[in-house]
């Protein structure tokens, strides 16, 4: 089965090559967005910096002009406590850190549920404290690097 996801990365076979020259603003947009990311390590800071760049976000339409009114652009103390530093690889030779890669859990959801119930039964005393400790099979918070 031909996966449509790869389709977007290539030109569709039926469209002529010169039909794409009306989309330069999108590619410009992408290049504009990537620029702040490479310099800043914090996603929220990136958002804030993008908000400051009126030419990029300010003109985008939204239903309610008050939608982004709560966003405080100048609050570095709050933003620094949020997400951990994200590693962005700028070349192919680097392997991302182990805790920033999404892997499929080997046990399927049924077995995870069966094990969870079995562990609950075996340790009834520690049931309350178990809620604070993450389970064996739970995912650690990971940054998503979905690749299509």
């Amino acid at each position: 089965m031909v996966v449509p996801s790869t389709f977007y990365s290539q030109q569709p076979p039926f469209c002529a090559h010169n039909q794409f020259h009306h989309i330069p603003e999108r590619s410009q947009l992408i290049s504009q967005i990537t620029l702040p990311i490479s310099h800043s390590s914090n996603f929220l800071e990136v958002c804030c910096s993008l908000c400051l760049m009126d030419s990029v976000l300010g003109n985008w339409p939204s239903y309610d002009p008050h939608n982004f009114s709560q966003l405080r652009t100048s609050d570095p103390s709050r933003s620094s406590k949020m997400a951990p530093a994200t590693y962005h690889s700028i070349h192919n030779r680097d392997v991302p850190p182990a805790d920033q890669v999404i892997n499929t859990e080997h046990k399927n959801i049924l077995l995870r549920e069966i094990y969870r119930r079995a562990e609950e039964k075996l340790t009834p005393k520690r049931a309350a404290s178990d809620n604070l400790i993450p389970e064996h099979g739970s995912k650690q918070p990971r940054v998503s690097t979905l690749s299509f």
């Binding site: 089965m1 031909v2 449509p4 996801s5 389709f7 569709p12 039926f14 469209c15 039909q19 794409f20 009306h22 989309i23 999108r26 046990k107 399927n108 959801i109 049924l110 077995l111 549920e113 069966i114 094990y115 119930r117 079995a118 039964k121 075996l122 340790t123 009834p124 005393k125």
Partner: protein, 591 residues
């Protein structure tokens, strides 16, 4: 981006319409034998329809672009699609013509393989395997209105739809092929068949056998390469009993095969290698780990030696001991490994439930020791894989093993999850446990344990992935008189049998609505009526899409005779076979 998308569709659309325009003028159109119900200006032209990739049909409601590349069909969609949403095209591609009473060879047809490549059938004397390749009848029509033409005469012939590939004798003189047994390994296109000699019902329980289970002198499993019918490997079980009907005693998951020997209470795990060899991996039953037997035997030898020395000493000292020193015999004194695991798991579970010591002892006495002998007498009835490391084992009493759902309440049954690598029992439920039912209701898909290699098995409708199936289940639950009876009835289907459901899109509950009592995805015989079985669209306009009428075209002559029918649906093509059998009943005596 938006403009680019639209343009792509239009280009494809125009291209397709151009093709149609060209061919229409000539009036010489190659049609499909089973025309689609698309609007008439759509004609699907095939250059060569390949059966290799069933996933070539995948699309969404709107919009669709169609193109042919190198003789294969594949469909683009502009959006991503959910797994169960991907077969909506089959609402339009339905069987629209029935060929009644086809003259076919006198074989018993078993099923289509799950990838649609082969039709498996057995000769009437159950000694030979005949494999057919399903193919498509095509014909050309030169008239102006080809739509209203009848099918040509060759459509009534079996050979127009199926080509015989080979006929292989599997069973020797006193053996018979088990008609209801067939497992298909899709990745390598291997098929597993079974032959057996006659059953002996009152076999004596010797050599560790369970009393009450019949014995078969020789059961042979044959692994065949279905491309050419070459027998790759065989596995023989002597004086044993494996439940072969409808794949009950065997489960295939990826390349792992589990065969339950009921007579000796052993779960054999085999691996099917790519070379075609059946390799024995482990035998769970008496021993759980591979080196358990070695350990026990070496200890037994050590104990025997020390006893001998002691006896010599005693004789030498002329001291007569009235204490009878029994020879250590691990085979008689120990329970089987899996039973020990089970009992210790139950004990530990009950022990941990209470903190107070007296309450603990009381609980153990009531719930464990009181029923100890019953638990020891439990035998393994059925096994399935949950994944490569976990087995779901059904335990029951000797009498109630082959229970049907209506007898479920008379014999208690238990279900255990066993980890093959750590040899631990993970959980243990009675057949009517609420917890087990909740797992069954929420995660039914995962109980089906389909191979990771075959994508289309993910499309089976169950009440965990389909809202209509869930509604059906809920309505049965509401109508049931007692919830525990209902749960027992539903849970009696666990563990599931392997490859017992057809992956055909016409059984997809989100696409079609049909009467479950007359036809279903399971490959079991159903009561047959003269009325056609209707398949109705699930979404607006809820119209009748197609009907299946088993039996002769004009209806049967004798309306009172009991008829059963079964259906073989091709997993990909809009092709189905229906076989109807009339059961001849003896007339009542007039007094």
């Amino acid at each position: 981006m938006e403009n680019g998308k639209k343009r792509r569709e239009i280009v494809c659309g125009v291209w397709m319409l151009c093709l149609i325009h060209k061919t229409r003028g000539r009036g010489d159109v190659i049609r499909q034998i089973l025309p689609s119900l698309l609007p008439s200006h759509y004609i699907i032209i095939t250059l060569s329809l390949s059966l290799q990739s069933p996933n070539f049909i995948s699309l969404l409601a709107t919009p669709v672009a169609v193109c042919t590349v190198g003789g294969f069909f594949f469909f683009f969609s502009a959006h991503s699609s959910l797994v169960h949403y991907a077969r909506k095209f089959y609402e339009n591609l339905v069987p629209s013509y029935t060929v009644y009473e086809v003259e076919c060879p006198d074989h018993s047809f078993r099923k289509f393989t799950d990838d649609g490549q082969y039709l498996i059938s057995f000769s009437r004397n159950q000694q030979e395997l005949i494999v057919y390749r399903p193919r498509w009848l095509s014909f050309s029509c030169k008239d102006e209105d080809c739509d209203n033409h009848d099918l040509p005469l060759k459509a009534k012939r079996f050979e127009s739809f199926f080509t015989q590939l080979y006929c292989v004798p599997l069973a020797s003189c006193n053996e018979l092929i088990c008609k209801d047994f067939f497992l298909y390994m899709e990745s390598n296109k291997f098929g597993l068949f079974a032959t057996s000699t006659a059953q002996v019902h009152d076999a004596p329980a010797v050599g560790g056998a369970v009393q009450g289970v019949p014995s078969i002198e020789k059961i042979t499993f044959h692994l065949l390469r279905l491309e050419d019918g070459f027998v790759l490997d065989e596995k023989v079980f002597c004086n044993d009993y494996v439940n072969l009907a409808h794949n009950l005693g065997v489960f295939l998951y990826d390349d792992l095969l589990t065969i339950v020997s009921l007579r000796y209470q052993i779960i054999h795990i085999l691996q099917i290698r790519d070379s075609g060899n059946l390799v024995h991996v482990r035998a769970i039953g008496e021993f759980c780990r591979e080196d358990d037997e070695l350990f026990l035997n070496s200890n037994a030898q050590g104990m025997a030696l020390s006893d001998k020395n002691k006896q010599q000493q005693l004789l030498g000292n002329h001291i007569y001991n009235n204490i009878h020193q029994a020879q250590p015999n691990p085979g008689n004194s120990f329970l089987s490994g899996i039973k020990q695991r089970l009992l210790s798991f139950m004990f530990r579970g009950l022990w941990n439930e209470e903190t107070d010591d007296t309450l603990r002892v009381q609980k153990i006495r009531q719930k464990f020791y009181f029923h100890f002998q019953d638990y020891c007498d439990l035998i393994i009835w059925k096994v399935q894989f949950l994944d490569r490391h976990h087995l779901l084992i059904k335990f029951g009493s000797v009498d109630g093993g082959r229970q049907v759902s209506r007898h479920a309440d008379t014999h208690p049954a238990f279900v255990a999850v066993y980890n093959m690598d750590t040899t631990e029992i993970v959980s243990f439920y009675q057949n009517s446990a609420d917890e087990l039912y909740m797992l069954f209701e929420q995660f039914c898909d995962h109980f089906y344990a389909t191979s990771r290699n075959s994508m289309h098995m993910n499309f089976i409708s169950s009440h965990s992935n389909n809202i209509h199936a869930l509604e059906q289940l809920r309505s049965i639950k509401d109508k049931a008189s007692s919830s525990s009876q209902f749960m027992k009835k539903m849970l009696s289907s666990l563990p599931f049998s392997c490859q017992s459901l057809s992956p055909s899109p016409y059984f997809d509950q989100s696409l079609f609505r049909f009467d479950d009592k007359l036809i279903s995805a399971t490959d079991r015989h159903k009561q047959s009526t003269d009325h056609p079985i209707k398949f109705i669209l699930r979404r607006h306009p809820y119209s009748l899409r197609f009907k299946i009428k088993p039996g002769p075209e004009a209806g049967s002559m004798d309306g009172r005779a009991k008829k059963i029918s079964w259906f073989l649906f091709h997993p990909v093509l809009p092709l189905a076979l229906s076989v109807q059998q009339t059961l001849i009943m003896q007339p009542p005596l007039n007094r």
